[in-house]
């Protein structure tokens, strides 16, 4: 009975021990089996894998059936396996007993990942090398983040260094901690001379006190903003020269607290440009005033002319006629001829004065643009001409649908001149025809034209056509002072348009014009 009890107890004890032992092994096994985010595997000194946890399955993509019994070289990129990397890593871990390495590993699907590896050399109780244990983490993301950070930092450093403006970093006490390349030529100091100095060394003395206050204010509420809005800021160079500047401030968080970035730009040029612009504006204003004054003088001059020049002409004409009438018996034919010529000359001069005045007024008058019924205007002018000369029959052909943005007063003068000319130069034709029409050019320009079938002109003299007082016909052939076309030219110019003519001797003339800049 006691034996059975003993045996049972022994059995129980053994069972208890084996249960305990089993439990501990089981526990570790369970633990490692449930680690998913780390690959944990074991291999012998030759690299043959004899354990592969689910974490390894997850990270590498191989199931344990596919890896157990295989060599660890399958886990490395071909060129690294070939270069003996796996062996080197084992060697690295052997003497110290463990090693931490990083490197590329290959997944089942052929993709690579960056691995953080802990290698542990495993020995038995007699210190014989059993093999190695490896714990691997997929550190691709971390590595990418590190690289990005590095690139960022490099880019920042480059920007900082090579910026075209001077950049100074100061801490909350106003001490210069970092400067970029531009600071050296800008202020005339070497970098080393400035680091550790108070920022006030770069500011004219008279601003020191107030700048210290501004600094305190800034760090109390640091924001990205322009410094001293509305104020004139100056920097001071090593040789005590003052430079007008614009400064942008930005806060930056560092391990030592909030610092400030100051981007400093030399605005000497800009200030000079502003000064130049102000001066130009003043000059412009003076010129505009002068122009207005000149116009007023011209106005007064024209006024005088219109009064004072006409009076003597009236006397010339009137007295000559008086002579002719009252002394006809005492003056012979030749004498009378002379007197008539005097009269004609005086009247012509009167006309000239009128035309000149109109021409000069045309340049000075303000233009008021509006939609003008050009066809209607043409018809009205034609009718006026007809009424003044009822003895002639002329065929007027006027397009009904001509509308244009123009100054109605000025346009009327131009049209009157052109139609009167056409009327005048067709006076020797029986079937006189005057056409007033418009055509559209390929680029959408409206080209007006007035065409007659009258005396025309010699195209050889076309250069003189629009010059004041230049005539292409003798006064005896067709009367006129030669100012009409110059007047028309002035009107068209003021509208920004162009005018040109075609003609032949006795084959009529066509005057083309536009009323807007092309």
């Amino acid at each position: 009975m006691a034996d059975k009890k003993n045996r049972d107890q022994k059995n129980n004890l053994e069972t208890e021990n084996s249960v305990t032992l089993l439990s501990v092994n089981d526990w570790f096994h369970l633990l490692v089996q449930n680690i998913n985010s780390y690959a944990v595997f074991l291999h012998d000194p030759d690299g043959r894998i004899n354990y592969w946890n689910p974490g390894a399955e997850q990270i590498f993509g191989y199931r344990s059936e596919e890896t157990v019994g295989q060599n660890i070289s399958m886990l490395y990129p071909k060129e690294e396996a070939g270069a003996g990397i796996p062996q080197r890593e084992m060697k690295l871990a052997l003497t110290p007993g463990r090693a931490e390495v990083e490197g590329w590993r290959l997944r089942k699907d052929g993709s690579r990942f960056w691995a953080e590896v802990s290698i542990i050399a495993l020995h038995d109780q007699e210190h014989h090398l059993l093999g190695f244990g490896k714990i691997i983490r997929d550190a691709t993301e971390r590595r990418n983040a590190d690289n990005s950070l590095k690139k960022s930092r490099t880019m920042f450093e480059r920007l900082f260094e090579n910026a075209p403006d001077a950049i100074i970093v100061v801490d909350s006490r106003g001490v210069i901690r970092k400067v970029n390349q531009q600071v050296e030529p800008f202020f005339g100091y070497l970098r080393e001379e400035l680091l550790g100095q108070r920022i006030e060394v770069l500011i004219p003395k008279r601003y020191h006190q107030i700048h210290r206050q501004h600094r305190k204010n800034y760090f109390a509420d640091p924001r990205t903003r322009k410094m001293g809005a509305g104020l004139e800021l100056y920097g001071r160079t090593r040789d005590n020269r003052e430079v007008p500047v614009d400064i942008m401030l930005s806060p930056i968080e560092t391990d030592e607290g909030t610092w400030a970035f100051a981007v400093i730009r030399d605005v000497t040029q800009r200030k000079q440009d502003e000064q130049a612009i102000t001066e130009l504006n003043d000059l412009l204003k003076r010129q505009v005033h002068q122009l207005a004054a000149t116009n007023r003088e011209l106005e007064a001059f024209s006024y005088s002319v219109s009064h004072d020049l006409r009076a003597p002409l009236r006397a010339l004409d009137g007295m000559s006629l008086a002579l002719l009438e009252d002394y006809s018996d005492k003056i012979d034919t030749t004498g009378q001829n002379y007197l008539n010529r005097i009269r004609t000359a005086a009247q012509t001069m009167g006309e000239l004065i009128d035309h000149l005045l109109t021409l000069s007024r045309l340049t000075r008058t303000e233009m008021h643009l509006e939609e003008v019924d050009v066809s209607g205007m043409g018809r009205q002018v034609a009718e006026e001409i007809r009424q003044q000369n009822p003895d002639r029959i002329v065929d007027f052909v006027i397009n009904d649908e001509m509308m244009e943005m123009a100054d109605p007063k000025l346009l009327r003068i131009a049209i009157t001149n052109l139609l009167s000319n056409a009327w005048k130069f067709t006076s020797k034709k029986d079937n006189a025809r005057i056409e007033f029409n418009v055509e559209e050019s390929p680029d959408g320009e409206r080209i007006y034209y007035i065409r007659d079938n009258g005396a025309g002109f010699n195209e050889e003299y076309i250069d003189n056509l629009f010059k004041p007082f230049q005539r292409l016909h003798a006064v005896g052939e067709f009367p006129g002072t030669g100012i009409g076309l110059a007047t028309v030219h002035r009107v068209i110019s003021r509208h920004g348009g162009r005018i040109w003519a075609e003609g032949g001797i006795d084959t009529g003339a066509t005057f083309y014009f536009t009323l807007a800049p092309s």
């Binding site: 219109s306 009064h307 004409d317 006629l321 008086a322 009269r343 001069m349 009167g350």
Partner: protein, 146 residues
């Protein structure tokens, strides 16, 4: 009730021509000539050289040039219109100028008519004749203050 004409003209040539034109037009009414603005006002208001004149005897029409020495045409016109007695006096501006401002100002100040003196004498004579015919014959003069 002889209708009179007051001619305010400083230019002796123009004066001569107007007289000649009036004659040609068979206008034989009495013409008084004032050679400057001051003289014109003296005549109308009975002052200066014309002191003692019966100023209710107003001209049937006044031909007024604009450019005059001492007081110019518009000044004379203004003075005439300011006075109750001459508010309705027929005044014709007869002048060389065709300047817009002159025409506008003349009408604003109360001119009855604005006629331009042409250079060519026959046209001038024609204008004078028409004026004479209109103002002296056709037009009803405002009842005078007599």
């Amino acid at each position: 009730m002889d209708k009179k004409i007051l001619l305010v003209e400083d230019n002796p040539d123009d004066e001569m021509l107007v007289m000649r034109a009036l004659k040609k037009a068979n206008v034989f009414n009495e013409v008084t000539v004032a050679h400057d603005g001051a003289e014109a006002l003296d005549y109308l208001f009975g002052t200066g050289d014309y002191a003692g004149r019966d100023i209710t005897d107003t001209p049937a029409v006044t031909l007024l040039d604009l450019k005059l020495p001492k007081i110019d045409g518009l000044g004379v016109l203004r003075k005439i219109r300011e006075d109750e007695r001459f508010r309705n006096l027929p005044v014709v501006i007869l002048t060389s100028s065709r300047e817009q401002e002159d025409i506008i100002k003349s009408y604003e100040l109360g001119a009855n008519s604005y006629v331009r003196k042409p250079v060519e004498f026959n046209n001038f004579a024609d204008a004078v004749r028409q004026l004479g015919l209109y103002w002296l014959v056709l037009n009803e003069i405002p009842p005078s203050q007599r």
